[in-house]
């Protein structure tokens, strides 16, 4: 399944793998400063992933899911959103989280096994990452219905993986969102692999976007390695949602260039040749080529971005490594709004025992 050939499902690409524009670019993409902003976000995401993997490999971070090669999906989606919208990410959408104001330190804390990493200081209403695959899709419908009930012009944006589309959770959520015209956008990061299972073993459907047809909502595909196209398509879906026209399903076609997580070894089930064939499509080089053409992006500018990003992540890693664990009692303190007598007794016992 390459997914670009289904006649009833539109496909959008703005910048090709060689960095050349395909047709007219959306307005925001004609502004070099805006393109640089997107570029920096992609670089930050990839650098963050590299940093996190390095920390994991040296025993200083837990299992981590890199988004190598898929950075444009969640960065593009988040860049299309307004601050007051709500983002509901899967566990591979750190790019979008960083764009929304979640800090590298918070992300490292989360993946390092500290709940405070999900107590975002910005994006206070955004959801923490969702580990049980696809189970956050109904949350997006609930968030969207809260907006609708309060007559707020806000939208819930849920990012899920290709594997998630096999789950009833997602089918139920899309169906309900359609019935209620819930102001929501569902973005599938179709990176072609759900751990070891390729998307052809996930579904016999020609596209994942066409699952929208059964829910009675618009479904389309976008080049998920083209951050401009992702942002443009999600912006249109957000505008429809804000106008009261209901949800959309967007399938972003990308490729998982890395392992599923640091606990995975993709060489067990995937040929290196397949991976190599996808590298020329990856999102960062193509935007860099485009920037070189339209804005004279040069080596000096590139190096400055890389250095600034590296410095920022180095500071975040240092802060993470210097963060003391939470006091043991906090195991109890957030189970309920107020500690029930039963749990207060367990808390006392735990503290006396330690």
């Amino acid at each position: 399944m390459t997914g670009t050939g289904s006649p009833s499902i539109p496909f959008t690409r703005c910048i090709g793998p060689d960095g050349a524009a395909v047709g007219d670019l959306p307005d925001f993409a004609r502004n070099p400063a805006e393109l640089v902003r997107l570029y920096r976000a992609l670089v930050l995401t990839r650098s963050f992933d590299a940093k996190a993997v390095a920390l994991q490999r040296t025993g200083r971070l837990g299992t981590f899911a890199s988004s190598l090669g898929q950075e444009a999906v969640s960065v593009g989606a988040a860049a299309a959103m307004r601050p007051e919208d709500v983002f509901l990410p899967s566990f591979r959408e750190q790019g979008g989280q960083l764009w929304r104001g979640v800090t590298p330190l918070e992300l490292l804390l989360y993946w390092g096994g500290d709940e405070r990493g999900s107590d975002f200081k910005a994006a206070r209403e955004d959801f923490p990452v969702c580990v049980p695959v696809g189970s956050h899709a109904p949350h997006a419908v609930g968030v969207a219905m809260a907006f609708k009930l309060r007559r707020e012009k806000r939208v819930a944006v849920c990012v899920l993986g290709d594997g998630a589309t096999s789950k009833g959770d997602v089918a139920e959520a899309l169906n309900m969102a359609g019935v209620w015209k819930a102001p929501s956008v569902f973005v599938i990061n179709n990176n072609r692999w759900a751990i070891s299972v390729p998307v052809a073993r996930q579904t016999a459907a020609a596209t994942l976007a066409q699952k929208a047809v059964a829910a009675g909502i618009p479904g389309e595909q976008v080049d998920g390695n083209d951050v401009v196209a992702v942002r443009a398509v999600v912006e249109r879906a957000l505008a429809r949602a804000r106008a009261g026209d209901g949800p959309s399903l967007i399938e972003a076609l990308t490729y998982r260039l890395g392992d599923h997580t640091t606990a995975d070894d993709a060489s067990r089930y995937r040929d290196d040749a397949e991976v190599s064939a996808h590298w020329p499509e990856e999102p960062i080089a193509r935007l860099r080529h485009h920037l070189a053409t339209v804005a004279g992006w040069d080596k000096a500018q590139e190096e400055r971005v890389l250095e600034e990003t590296a410095a920022l992540l180095e500071r975040a890693a240092e802060a993470y490594l210097a963060t003391a664990p939470q006091p043991a009692a906090t195991v109890f303190d957030f189970t309920y709004a107020a500690l029930p007598a039963e749990l207060a007794a367990q808390r006392r016992q735990a503290l006396e025992g330690s």
């Binding site: 709500v86 709940e115 405070r116 999900s118 107590d119 975002f120 206070r124 209403e125 959801f127 923490p128 580990v131 049980p132 189970s135 956050h136 899709a137 109904p138 949350h139 997006a140 419908v141 609930g142 968030v143 969207a144 219905m145 809260a146 907006f147 609708k148 009930l149 819930a156 009833g168 959770d169 139920e172 959520a173 169906n175 309900m176 019935v179 209620w180 906090t330 957030f334 189970t335 309920y336 709004a337 107020a338 029930p340 007598a341 039963e342 749990l343």
Partner: protein
Amino acid sequence: MDELNLVQAVNRALARAMADDPRVVVLGEDVGRDGGVFRATDGLFARFGEDRVIDTPLAELAIAGVAVGMAAQGLRPVAEIQFTGFIYPTIDQLVNHASRLRTRTRGRLACPMVLRSPSGGGIHAPEHHSESPEAMLAHIPGLRVVIPSSPRRAYGLLLAAISDPDPVVFLEPTRLYRAVREPVADDGEALPLDRCFVLREGRDLTFVTWGAMVLETMAAAERLAGRGVEATVIDLATLHPLDHETIVESVRGTGRCVIVHEAPLSGGWGAEVAARLAEHALTALLAPVVRVAGYDTVMPLPRLEAHYMPGVERVLAAAERVLEFA
């Protein structure tokens, strides 16, 4: 003050909560125009409109999941699962999301939702309509599991559940929906969660029970009183978190305890109560703690359900057993 049965009391509590708090919304299958298959939401659609009384597609997982999303946004969703036989698809949402959203975000997000569902047997319902899954749910940290056993407690506990800042599963004993009427003041007064209700006090024996089994247990206590044995009857009401102080204190006084529940014996919530007594009241016990429960079988279809559900005679036989110990 109107005489209400339990389902009418639920209906009054829902209407009161919706009238008092615009954040309260009701959702579920057939809760709208139909007013719910048991009429628990009767009249709410006409009074509060389709924005706040939402008929959902037939999808239990998403009903719970949508409620999680609404609750995280500050609404107070009250979702109905038509029967507990259909509650199992919601357990993923309850375990992985509703009950831990506060913990995993360190209080940044919370989940003040209620999941209501008619529970238990005894109404000759079709297959999958009579189970008692409370112990599975009570095992989930971060969740409250509440089971009312009278119209007044249904009214007051449901109001408490709706205004509680954390998720509550509210299991309504189907058999009690129309079994008893009592005067219920529609005064908006909540009853306390996390507290047992001592329904009668006696020095000889403590019964611990909840839900529909309160009827059989109270009847057994009356019979015992007729021959001079005075029993305490404790209705757990909130199964989790468990108010074990009240139970332990009572059994320290009586020295004898019989636990009565409709759900299967093994791993039932009675086992938790018995364990607390073993840990905290052992030296006061004059007899083994005995459980009267459903059998470890599949809930039978209606023609055999009376054989499955503990009746007054089984409760009395258990009482005899513990009273025999000198």
